[in-house]
Assembly symmetry: C2
Amino acid sequence: MAEPAPFSDSFQHELDRLLRLRRDVRRFRTDPVDEATLDQALSAFSRAPSVGLSEPWRILRIDSPDARRAALDNFRAANDRALQGYTGARAARYATLKLSGMQEAPVQLAVFCDDGTTKGHGLGAASMPEMRRYSVVSAITLFWLALRAQGLGLGWVSILDPVQLARDLDAPDNWHLIGYFCIGWPQDTGDTPELETLGWETRAPALHIEPR
Amino acid sequence: MAEPAPFSDSFQHELDRLLRLRRDVRRFRTDPVDEATLDQALSAFSRAPSVGLSEPWRILRIDSPDARRAALDNFRAANDRALQGYTGARAARYATLKLSGMQEAPVQLAVFCDDGTTKGHGLGAASMPEMRRYSVVSAITLFWLALRAQGLGLGWVSILDPVQLARDLDAPDNWHLIGYFCIGWPQDTGDTPELETLGWETRAPALHIEPR
């Protein structure tokens, strides 16, 4: 087999730009996402690494008013509980954050890990069974990049009771919720995290690596 | 702020090629990796998403003979235990697989999640504390792409006792091992997973999405 062509310097430069512009989006425009664009990004799942080739990702597309309502109610309850964990100025700041785009995002997905899959024959997951869930996270990360490369935004909602949501969405028993994802055209497309802009937290200036 | 330039069709095509060529590498050439190339790829960590901007990734670079020996011994013991979970033809096939490049890879990293970090003030991790570990997995996934874009390969070793390895590497108490990573120049650069080539498992023909 012929050696694949190397990736050009300009590609690498653009890849770095993509990583810088990938953001967690909570402010979406309401115009629809066409299915071909979404399908192109979803193809990233089939390219993703998975332990033992287990491909344990399972995806529900949340379109019905009932399912969207269940997810939104779940988020609101979890967010109220989270707010109660803060006091003083930190609580006041938390209350001003917009932490999901669930009321606006045209496409919403609940993504699970099938903890009981036999695909992959357990390879690589005997001593670290969490590897299956990590495989789903890797796939979502690639999907996120593929969306952003087309100008779309993704928001990862984790302020949820994952067991309750799986039940409300009638997910099979072995499915463990990894996250709830809002997808659409972002209102803003900058390279600064909103949590930084709003003063919640800053990014570390440098990566620290210790020798062993 | 000016709207960032969109990503070109040719970039998107090359991005898809990168996703197709990203492989889990277990067969490395032994020539060294220069530090500037490695640093460029490591910058992907600083671009990665993390829950609440917690940036919980912690990295140990495993260079000393003692630390490498501890990691290799750990892998071998876990691999022997995993082999005992198979019987017949599946066991015979398992025994022929090369499941790590720990004896050859010039760069080796142990990557942890600091479960006790206060950075991010717990945002997004109250009901799903596993989000911190997922953030580390996302960062590793981006690092993997950045390596491959430069022609380097990464192999994710999960056939390990993670608690024992953290102890052997003298990691702080709150650090939870996410994975052990072998990095170097790959012997092969194709787009087919070795587990598929060797008949362990095949990739699913299509992604299935259920409506709710």
